[in-house]
């Protein structure tokens, strides 16, 4: 099958949906002319769809988000891009108090198609204001769905689903994934929400992860099989809301041990929530308390070895697994 980059897959999803429906628009800073997308995701779309559809804005995040909400209220299908996910803090009211609540507040009169694309993640020395993984903050907001692809295939398929979802979707991308390549069919497909996927079969331990941490989990699994003969099952959740706990439960029936890996801050991170839900439904299958590994409770440093010390990586995860299980 054809192999393309994660960033290209995202662009294809946008392009295909834009070609189908002129209500689909992309809104953000430097998404069109000029810089052509900070990470090159939207390169070429301006030339194809013009300034009315690929909307370059001033540096005004509140207005960017509001442009999304207002066009969505008018029946359009906006894709809103924050240049870095960290900047969503600047327009957080739009997320927490507006777009998430409109369906509820309007008594279901309005069902919005609305996608907020948030490039997150650390690992390239981008430091405290350009590295955060804010999934758990969004996960606690009723009314928002969360897609978080770990590879090119899901990136395209989930984004297409998101654009036509009918309810707001926060779409987390990862800067370290943009250049990773994966198989992506030429023909139309979508990826459904709420369906995790087993990336690697195993029987000794289940690792649940999303986004870049799926890669880390796979590396860990490969190495621990070699070095210690531990056979790890890796589950990629793909969406956090809705959350596929069933796939975790099924896996636990075999492995009876669960590690949740996340790049976000551990305290009140996504692992805490996943862990609660799994404990509630599947505690009978657990031989040990669920273990989480996430970023230590710190701002994200720019300097390489602190960055590495704070954020989980293959080696630190292996160390913990050996210690813990």
């Amino acid at each position: 099958m054809r192999v393309i980059k994660y960033s290209d897959a995202l662009r294809e999803a946008m392009r295909e949906e834009m070609a189908k429906d002129e209500n689909v628009v992309l809104i953000g800073e430097d998404v069109g002319q000029g810089y052509r997308g900070c990470f090159g995701v939207s390169t070429g779309l301006y030339e194809e769809f013009g300034p009315e559809r690929i909307i370059d804005t001033p540096i005004s995040e509140n207005s960017i988000l509001g442009l999304g909400i207002g066009t969505a209220l008018m029946g359009m299908k906006p894709i809103v891009e924050m240049m870095f996910s960290d900047f969503v803090a600047v327009c957080f009211d739009g997320v927490l108090n507006q777009v998430s609540k409109i369906k509820f507040m309007s008594g279901d009169q309005f069902n919005l198609n609305f996608v907020l694309r948030l490039p997150g993640g650390a690992g390239n020395g981008t430091g405290p204001h350009h590295s955060q993984c804010l999934e758990s903050m969004i996960m606690g907001i009723p009314g928002l769905n969360i897609a978080i692809p770990s590879n090119a295939y899901d990136a395209k398929g989930l984004l297409k689903t998101s654009i036509n979802h009918g309810n707001p979707v926060v779409f987390f991308e990862h800067k370290k994934l943009y250049k990773t390549e994966g198989e992506v069919p030429e023909k139309e497909y979508t990826v459904p929400f709420g369906k995790g996927i087993v990336r690697r079969k195993g029987k000794d331990l289940t690792i649940v992860a999303v986004s870049y941490m799926v890669k880390v989990a796979e590396e860990v699994a490969g190495e621990l099989e070699q070095s210690h003969g531990i056979d790890i099952e890796v589950i990629d959740l793909r969406t956090l809301v809705p959350l596929d706990t069933q796939i975790i439960g099924e896996s636990l029936k075999k492995t009876n041990k669960l590690l949740i890996l996340e790049e976000g801050i551990e305290r009140s991170g996504i692992a805490a929530e996943i862990s609660y839900q799994v404990n509630e439904e599947y505690s009978d299958y657990l031989d040990y308390p669920i273990k989480r590994i996430g970023s230590k409770n710190s701002s994200i440093p720019m300097t390489p070895n602190l960055e590495k010390a704070i954020i989980p990586n293959k080696d630190s995860v292996i160390k913990e697994i050996i210690k813990y299980f």
Partner: protein, 314 residues
């Protein structure tokens, strides 16, 4: 601008509707029938009615926390509206949200706002959609004097002006944001803030419904014809507290009484009578409005409170 008689009567009727509606809400609020707080239009009716009646049906509104006036003037059914304020399932939004957050899709009401300033970015999106879809519409984006100090206001003015978006900004300047006088919050008038961005501005007597109306009509024509934003600042005053329960001492009795003399409804009634409109016609309107309100009130009171069902859990 010459306003035809029918329109004059409509202006009067809608003002009266807002006044009586708000009196009813006040009654409900002070007798414990309403859960939560309500922000009323009494004294400011001309500003709601004059601006909203200048619009066509296919225009849009974004009301504020003080939003009953705009909604009523734009056609929202008083019964469903009151039912919403009472939290009844027969309400506009199934009774979920009450006074401060009502939406009315049928009447192009894109949602009242509990967060001051959140309407400004949303208005940009509405304006942009209108423009992209090449509709001959505009959106009225309401806000109070105090809210003009939110950063989102300027951002919105900047982008609306830059892109030529059909947004009609409507400032209801009632001098205060809660207990704070506008002069203690900014050295610059609201009109000046908009003019900076090359936006056409009119400052009007917000208690004179014809002044508000005719200037609004002119500005809306300008907005639609040129696809450019405009702003109207209506100078008015709320007679009651910030919400129904505010008896804080930040305003003098003298100030309040002075403004009460400028009653937009009483004064307009006098003008209509001078204008050779008969007592009888006026009385007919008054009766009609009273009937609407009592029916609305009955409808609202009769409705049941919504039952919880899982569909709101997301």
């Amino acid at each position: 601008m010459k306003i035809p008689k029918e329109k004059k009567l409509e202006l009067f009727e809608k003002m009266l509707l807002v006044r009586q509606f708000e009196r009813k809400v006040y009654e409900f609020a002070t007798t414990g029938v309403v859960n939560g707080s309500v922000h009323l239009w009494i004294g400011e009716e001309a500003s709601a009615v004059g601006t909203v009646l200048s619009m066509e049906k296919d225009d849009y509104i974004l009301p504020t926390h003080r939003g009953h006036g705009q909604g009523l003037a734009f056609g929202t059914e008083p019964g469903k509206f009151l039912a919403e304020i009472l939290g009844k399932e027969t309400g506009l939004c199934k009774g979920r949200v009450g006074s401060m957050h009502f939406f009315d899709k049928e009447h192009n009401n894109l949602g009242a706002q509990g967060i001051l300033g959140a309407q400004f970015p949303i208005a940009l999106g509405v304006g942009k959609a209108i423009k992209n879809k090449k509709m001959n519409s505009c959106v009225q984006c309401f806000f109070g004097d105090g809210t003009s100090n939110q950063g989102t206001f300027y951002e919105s003015l900047n982008i609306a002006s830059l892109w030529g978006l059909p947004i009609f900004y409507v400032c209801i300047n009632n001098l205060y944001g809660m207990g704070t006088h506008y002069k203690n919050t900014s050295k610059v008038s609201i009109g000046e803030k908009a003019e900076l961005f090359g936006i056409k501005v009119k400052v009007v007597d917000g208690n004179d419904v014809e002044d508000v109306y005719s200037n609004s009509v002119e500005l809306i024509n300008y907005v639609k014809k040129n696809s450019k934003p405009a702003l109207i600042e209506c100078k008015t005053y709320r007679w009651l507290g910030h919400s129904a329960f505010d008896n804080r001492p930040y305003r003098t009795k003298k100030e309040i009484d002075g403004w009460k003399k400028l009653d937009p409804i009483k004064n307009y009634k006098a003008r209509l009578l001078e204008d050779k409109i008969s007592e009888k016609e006026i009385r007919k309107i008054e009766d009609k409005v009273n009937k609407i309100i009592s029916e609305a009130s009955e409808f609202a009171l009769q409705g049941d409170y919504p039952e919880f069902d899982d569909s709101i859990v997301q």
